[in-house]
Amino acid sequence: MRQDDFAIDNCLKCSVCNAACPVYAAQAQYPGPKHLGPELERLRCEGIPADTAWLEYCLGCHRCDLACPHQVGVSEMIARAKAKHRKPLIRGLRDWWFARPGLLGQLTTILPSLSNLALSLAPARFLMSKLMRITPERRFPVYTRPNLRTPPIAASRNERPRVLFFPGCFIRYNKPELGRKIIDLLERNGFIAEVAETECCGVPAIANGDADMARTQARRNIKKMADQLHAGMRIVTACSSCGHMLKTGFGGSLEADEELAGVAKKIGSQTFDLAELLMAQSDAGALNTDFRSSNLRLAYHAPCHQKSQGIGRPWFHLLAQIPGVTVEDLDAGCCGMSGTYGFKQEKYGVSMAIGQQLFDRIGAVQPQLIATECATCQMQIEHGTEFKAIHPAEILLQAYDGRSL
């Protein structure tokens, strides 16, 4: 939790944030979080125009916040300024779409196979690059019919604690089978999971400077989770960005509305990352440890929005409990993808330059498989290396069945 009493005077200009910023190191022109955050904030507070296109280059990784010895909310200042920043037409249009992965998901999954085909064809990618400034270097993830539903609950299990699973856009529109695996994992550990009929958490909206959309999404999500929230159900996320968003009062997007901000705070207090929940089971001696032994050599990459939740390294510790498995925590910084950031043509180079440190580290470790819970970190790792990256929940679930991955 950053300093709530928003005081730029807490910034001593020590530049520790700049030293922690992945973009500052990778893009020589980028002014850095200290300048875009607290320094320009002084001007913005006085109403002096201080808009700059460099605001678009902030990843929203929150590494500046975590590094700041004085807990200045650097990235939030930048995000607020980003929301007021005006973009040229094409970038603005593209980012309008990128701020709405739910809408994108709904449209593409009307006819998923046709959409996937269209998105993968070279001429389409060429056109997207020319008309939308979306890099042709990357492939869009495959879209699937959104068929993740709450499974029927056996009467014998009715007494179990219920949790509300917030799937997020990637699981809903790209990988509903991962959602089903997560529900299975929760069931094997004594929970009953209900799938929340929510929409996008709002991270892409904030990242793309669309504060209004983030607010709208937050309001709708609050409404859709209201009953379960009042029943005191825990909300479980498996995507680190969704988790970050739910735990931080939707990134502070509801601050103007006291009542909603209060509900958002309650959501935060009831939200748990899947691994956090399972680790709490483990700490209470209640984790299902019926794992088959495996000699898998894993590497774990902690997504930035995992770190920004301040929950330690629960996936690392969970994976290490599978007998015979070795897990190396890569600790090699940001992957550089940051959701839609890496898809943007003008940012593709920066995105890959940031990821290089992680790619090099993976190359040195030579794991058989990489575990990371963020879908776009997975994409970036698979794009920048020859290695496969999957959600750690899949690995844990496979370990129960003793199937190899």
Binding site: S15, V16, Y24, Q27, G310
Partner: protein, 367 residues
């Protein structure tokens, strides 16, 4: 396996906290380090001034703490040179000299000495460092101190290999990540160094580079190389933090970074829980012992006036009883007076607290 239960939790990422975490881990304890960013030592060079060792106090304890710290620094790839009785004059960022007892090797190297020719090599595009000013000031101060190092100023330009505004952080980050940049920098420095036995550059040679890497760079340069600490951001200080952080991770210390410890749960005169203000809901860590190395935040955490410490440096209440039997305070202030903030004293305080904490092993069981 319990991910949130520890033998010792150290609060604070300054030199005292890092030392305490290292010392507790050396004793085989399961250690967590909770820190919101690095301690303020990263604003400086990490050097230890001679005068810190001249203070009254327990010299044996200090020697033990420093010996441990040096072992840890060596293992972390950032060894310190010197010793309490081997002080040498090193340049400060203002171009005068201070008597330093211990310093990271390449800062220790930055002694212009009395023999041999020294060049201070600045970077044209680096606005925060002026080699001419530095050379002039050093020569003047040296002559007042009775020696003549005849320091010259030289300059390189990085604009051909570096687009955009140049800062020490950017140079250091490129130094770490880009081998091509490193060899181009080497080439430029080699030309500037020609005819000199020693060159001193602003500290910029990597945010995370090990002593071994710097030694290779020096070897390739063909003359002695020293780094001068600069205005913050101080690469020398940040590099120390990054090396220590990496080392502690390697030896199994669990790091909780970015969010402040807000509460110590004390009951029955034992501190069994440390509460971190993570977003959404607090992160609660359970522990057998706590080492407080949170500098100015320690008093907030204790929540009431600390009326001194007992012989095991546990904070006392005004009634003279310990606040918690397993709570150790790695602070220098109360014992060493208001000036007790030097690096050596911080290290000593951290070490002392860790040793006191380790000595209570097995006495308490976390709830």
């Amino acid at each position: 396996m319990n991910s949130h239960r520890f033998d010792v939790i150290v609060v604070g990422g300054g030199l005292s906290g890092l030392t305490a975490a290292g010392a507790a881990a050396r004793d085989g304890l399961k250690v967590a380090l909770a820190a919101t960013g690095p301690g303020s030592f990263v604003l400086g060079s990490g050097c230890m001034e001679e005068q810190e060792f001249a203070r009254p106090g327990d010299a044996i304890e200090m020697a033990e703490a420093i010996a441990f710290f040096r072992e840890m620094a060596q293992a972390a790839g950032c060894p310190f040179e010197g010793g309490p009785s081997e002080a040498r004059l090193l340049p400060t960022i203002l171009g005068d000299f201070e008597s330093v007892a211990l310093a990271p090797r390449f800062l220790w190297n930055a002694n212009p000495g009395t023999s041999g020719s020294t060049a201070i090599v600045g970077v044209k595009e680096l606005s925060t460092f002026d080699e001419n000013f530095m050379a002039e000031r050093l020569n003047e101060h040296a002559s007042r101190l009775g020696f003549n190092p005849a320091v010259r100023a030289r300059q390189i330009s990085l604009s051909p290999i570096f687009a955009g505004p140049i800062t020490t952080v950017r140079i250091a980050a490129r130094f770490d990540s880009d081998k091509g940049f490193r060899s181009e920098l080497l080439g430029a420095l080699r030309i500037a160094a020609s005819g000199f036995e020693r060159i001193l550059v602003p500290a910029m040679l990597g945010l995370n580079s090990s002593e071994e890497e710097l030694a290779q760079f020096e070897h390739a340069l063909g003359c002695s190389l020293g780094e001068l600490s600069t205005l913050p951001p101080s690469i020398a200080g940040l590099r120390l933090f990054h090396r220590f952080r990496g080392y502690l991770r390697e030896i199994g210390v669990e790091l909780f970074e970015g969010f402040p410890v807000v509460t110590l749960n004390i009951g029955d005169a034992l501190c069994t829980e440390v509460v971190i203000a993570s977003p959404g809901h607090p992160l609660i860590l359970r522990t057998e012992r706590v080492v407080l190395a949170a500098g100015q935040h320690t008093s907030e955490l204790l929540g009431r006036a600390c009326a001194g410490h007992d012989e095991q440096i546990r904070p006392l209440t005004s009634a003279g009883t310990v606040m918690a039997a397993n709570l150790f305070d790695a602070e220098t202030d109360s014992r060493d007076g208001p000036e007790g903030s030097g690096n050596a004293m911080q290290i000593c305080a951290g070490y002392r607290a860790a040793i006191a904490a380790a000595a209570t092993r097995g006495n308490y069981a976390a709830g």
